[in-house]
């Protein structure tokens, strides 16, 4: 995607929002205390209050949360969900194939006759065996682009082929899940400054990556807060944004710090105790923060995380190496997410903008491909198995003779997830993904 995509302003607000805005701004105490965001003790009440507000939240209340983990850079799904049963796999990847399962270390962990897990994903094996983790090996976008930036753009808008700006589908989903006059965020993103998938009219909480999220900074310091608020006391949009940000930041920092204090350990100790992983950082720390924030604020139903570093054009390694390290980090983060998001209708989606070439390239890596493995985790997921069509790696069955085909449009996958776990209607899903088509072959993806 060219980096000069324009993002024209969203449509003007409805009168309701404008009135709400002025009322809030005029109240004067907008930023004084975190009164606008849900307090932990209000969590249950807030959830109940939402229960009957829109059809979408109907019977799902606070137990229906969706987490999207986007792997930016086109992760190599064939190294994660390994088609060990296909002889072509080993012919196509002489240097970087993961050894066939034989029970020893550094070999594929067998799931069935067709597929296995990369050994670095060993932490996910129990989840697979419990039936809460499933995969769709040939999912993706129907658009043929092999540009990271274009493809990510399509995924985040939910509109393959659309190159102009628009709203992120998770933001539209937030609008559907929230109340019409909502000022409290329903969606939260941790780690990225401003991901497109969350762009839109619904309020969104954005939390920086790492430990920065736990610090209030100058707006939390009584010596400086008042002075800053005076500078940003106006009714103009920048001042409002600043006050907005101050409030949100203080609340987030307090929540994350309180959570660490309450458990009596800092997060590093917690992780070391649980799986010997040492200091959490990167995706794992962000996943922890996401879990904490969404646990403390039951208004938050939608969470977004991302991780980069997947674009393995050279020396990607096999059972060990740079990709394996990344997969290990991913597994730890997903295990953490499972801890925090295991209520009845919680679903975690792990996806990437496209896959990689089936064959290795000239530099022991892989180039941009097409179809890729999409993972789903949740009690409502028909886990312990892979779903959809798998046509193998014979060249005649590859997209343009080189890539996995896309047998299952990512929108059709998400539609199954949203219908079942979030109770969205077909019309509502169509608002997220205009013009998508249902894929009946995926009707068994979720448990009824």
């Amino acid at each position: 995607m060219p980096t000069f995509k324009h993002r024209p302003p969203a449509n003007p607000a409805t009168p309701t929002r404008r009135q709400l805005l002025h009322a809030l701004a005029a109240s004067g105490s907008f930023w004084a205390a975190p009164a606008l965001w849900a307090q932990p003790e209000n969590a249950i009440n807030t959830g109940a209050a939402h229960a009957g507000s829109t059809g979408a939240t109907g019977t799902f209340g606070t137990e229906s949360r969706l987490i999207v983990v986007f792997l930016r850079g086109a992760y190599d799904g064939l190294s994660a969900l390994v088609p060990h049963g296909d002889a072509n796999y080993y012919a196509l990847r002489p240097s970087i194939a993961i050894a066939a399962p034989d029970g020893s270390a550094q070999t594929t962990l067998k799931l069935d006759a067709t597929f296995g897990l990369h050994p670095a994903l060993a932490g996910l094996l129990p989840l697979w065996q419990q039936g809460v983790l499933g995969a769709i090996p040939c999912a993706g976008s129907p658009d043929p682009t092999r540009s990271h930036f274009d493809a990510q753009h399509h995924w985040e808008l939910g509109i393959p082929g659309k190159s102009s700006s628009g709203n992120g589908w998770m933001n539209t989903l937030a609008s559907l899940r929230g109340t019409p006059a909502a000022t409290k965020p329903v969606a939260v993103g941790v780690g990225e400054a401003n991901p497109l998938i969350l762009v839109g009219t619904a309020p969104v909480q954005l939390v920086p990556k790492g430990q920065a999220a736990t610090r209030q900074g100058a707006v939390g310091d009584p010596r400086t807060r008042e002075a800053l608020m005076k500078l940003y006391a106006g009714q103009d949009s920048l001042s409002q944004a600043f006050r907005n940000g101050a409030d949100s930041r203080m609340q987030t920092a307090q929540t994350l710090s309180a959570d660490m204090a309450a458990t009596g350990m800092d997060s590093a100790q917690m992780l070391a105790a649980s799986n010997g992983a040492g200091n959490p950082q990167g995706l794992l720390l962000d996943a922890q923060h996401l879990g904490t924030l969404m646990r403390q604020d039951r208004n938050l139903r939608l969470g977004f995380l991302s991780a980069g570093g997947w674009d393995t054009h050279a020396n990607q390694g096999a059972a060990s190496g740079s990709l394996a390290n990344n997969l290990g980090n991913l597994a730890r983060a997903l295990v953490q997410l499972r801890r925090d998001f295991s209520q009845a209708n919680d679903v975690v989606v792990v996806c990437s903008e496209f896959g990689r070439t089936s064959a290795e390239n000239g530099t022991r890596g892989t180039d941009h491909g097409h179809g890729n493995t999409l993972w789903l985790m949740g009690n409502r997921v028909h886990g312990g198995r892979w779903h959809g069509t798998w046509s193998g790696l014979a060249q005649g069955n590859l997209h343009e003779g080189r890539d996995l085909p896309v047998h299952h449009d990512f929108r059709a996958v998400l539609a199954q997830v949203l219908r079942t776990s979030q109770g969205l209607s077909g019309a509502e899903i169509d608002r997220l993904f205009p013009g998508f088509a249902w894929d009946k072959s995926l009707d068994g993806l979720m448990r009824a």
Partner: protein
């Protein structure tokens, strides 16, 4: 910021983001007096022009920069003068403090340092424990000889120190040259975090982005294509003709990464008219382009690795057999690549893409089609002469329109804060004679700045992907991020006396709010004020 003007009906963050961006940047939302609002107490054209000149041609007002502009007949005249001055400066080496000089050493020395680093690390298996050398370079202290196992990090830190000081001290680097260096580095981005690239990043900034900043685009592009930083970043160095014999009898082959991004990002753009086949064919053309550890330019054409077949890129045929061998013996195989790169550089889609990005960087998030078209025409008519394009840009009414604002990126904000406080901070530390003699007093400021840029999502030289960072308000105007700017400003300006020279650039509301605060806070509050958030 005059509180009476801009009414936007939003509290919600996401829309606040986009509409704030739009309304913030075009002051005519309610038709109020457009000369009020961000930053100026007097509505004269000159003071608006002064702010525009220092904030966009440079990185923001410093006492030295303001004096320099005021010495010219007008800010507009000053801006145009900078083009030739910057061009001349780009042909001389940068002024480097002695303790920063290593990062711009000749490439063979950098290769040697990287080799020694690998060997040292293999021997000592350097751990992440306490390490005075590592800490020293993080503290920007380059006064002691460095341990070989931290060579790459030292190179990267030195380069960062140079970038930040150049951007904030006009006596050290021509401000327009600093700006163009940033622009071109971002357009032809390499990532300092990729191990193989790290030690070469600073050399790339100076010798590719800076040297060619105001020359011909195709020369800039060729310089980028041949530099080890780019050859390693996008795997071109490893891309060889399919079936080439590698070590231990393995076969190696093509890597499409660089060829793709060369067309998609550096030149034509994703809709610029190329296909997947063109990507592959261009990759074939470029086989043999790889690094050399002994060549002064770090480049060699390895004929043995080159695909000698016939290729076709964008309809043009490339065939090694067809052309004459060059005097230096490199032969026409290398010529194919040069011809292909020049072809891409001269393509009309490239002119449009590059000029659009220039206009977005200097003029507006959504520059007018007319401006972009005019710049593109200048680009093509001048055969890609960047000075000519910048002359047209800096003469355009759109650039000088006081109603049209750009929200500062974190880099803009950080450098403008460094610039504004430089003299006060230097004086504070006992003052050192001679700009650039030592980064001494600036050390704390540089460390703070790097941390701020990291947390803000725009780490210096650290954008991971080849598309480079965006510069529009919709990307960077995030509510929480505004508060982090305040943190940085207050920390940087701690113990700095009030910056009186900034007062004329601040609104009445800001000035009166700050006047009531403790003197020790005033400088920081100036930098944290709404007036200082845009340029």
């Amino acid at each position: 910021m005059n509180p009476s003007i801009v009414r936007t009906p939003f509290l919600n963050r996401r829309t606040a983001l986009q509409v704030t961006a739009a309304s913030f940047l075009t002051w005519a939302v309610t038709g109020s007096n457009s000369a009020q609002g961000l930053g100026r107490s007097t509505a004269t054209a000159t003071s608006a022009d002064l702010w525009r000149a220092v904030s966009r041609v440079g990185y923001g007002p410093s006492e030295a920069l303001v004096r320099s502009v005021q010495a010219a007949p007008s800010p507009r005249a000053w801006a145009l003068q900078q083009i030739d001055l910057a061009r001349a400066a780009s042909q001389s080496p940068p002024r480097l403090a002695p303790d920063l000089a290593d990062f711009n050493a000749p490439l063979p020395r950098i290769f040697a340092g990287a080799r020694a680093e690998r060997e040292a690390r293999a021997k000592t298996k350097a751990t992440a424990g306490a390490d005075t050398d590592a800490d020293a370079s993080r503290r920007m202290d380059f006064s002691n000889p460095r341990a070989p196992e931290h060579f790459s990090r030292t190179m990267a830190q030195q380069a960062a120190a140079w970038r930040l000081t150049s951007a904030s001290q006009p006596e050290l680097e021509n401000p327009l040259l600093a700006r163009m260096t940033e622009f071109w580095f971002n357009h032809l981005n390499v990532y300092v975090g990729k191990g193989a690239v790290r030690p070469f990043t600073g050399h790339y900034v100076v010798n590719v982005a800076r040297t060619h900043a105001l020359g011909r685009f195709e020369d800039l592009l060729l310089a980028s294509a041949r530099h080890p930083a780019m050859l390693l970043y996008l795997d071109q160095a490893r891309s060889v003709a399919n079936g080439t014999r590698g070590p231990q009898g393995s076969t190696r082959g093509l890597n499409e990464n660089y060829a793709r991004e060369l067309m998609e990002l550096h030149t034509l753009g994703v809709d610029g008219g190329y296909t997947q086949t063109d990507v592959r064919e261009l990759a074939r053309v470029l086989t043999g382009w790889t690094v050399s550890q002994s060549d002064a330019g770090g480049f060699q054409f390895a004929a043995r690795l080159h695909d000698t077949g016939t290729k076709q890129v964008l309809g043009r045929v490339f065939n090694s057999e067809a052309g004459p061998a060059l005097k230096d013996g490199s032969g026409s195989g290398q010529r194919e690549g040069e011809d292909a790169i020049r072809m891409l550089a001269r393509h009309p889609s490239t002119a449009r893409r590059v000029c659009l990005r220039l206009a977005q960087f200097f003029v507006a998030d959504t520059p007018s089609a007319a401006l972009v078209k005019a710049l593109s025409q200048t680009f093509l008519a001048s055969q890609g002469n960047i000075s000519a394009v910048m002359r047209a840009l800096l003469q355009s009414a759109e650039f000088w329109n006081p109603e049209s604002r750009l929200f500062k990126t974190p880099m803009d904000f950080a450098c403008s804060a460094l610039a504004a406080t430089h003299q006060a901070r230097e004086g504070d530390a006992g003052g050192r004679a001679g700009a650039g003699s030592d980064i001494g007093a600036d050390r704390r400021g540089l460390v703070l700045t790097l941390g701020f840029l990291n947390n803000a999502g725009q780490p210096l030289h650290g954008w991971q992907t080849p598309d480079g960072y965006r510069t529009d308000a919709a990307t960077w105007l995030v509510p929480e991020a505004l508060t982090r700017r305040a943190d940085f400003a207050l920390a940087l300006a701690r113990q700095t006396p009030a910056l009186d020279f900034l007062l004329p650039f601040l609104s009445e509301a800001t000035r009166s709010a700050i006047a009531q605060e403790k003197p020790a806070l005033q400088a920081g509050l100036m930098l944290a004020s709404p007036d200082f958030m845009a340029k």
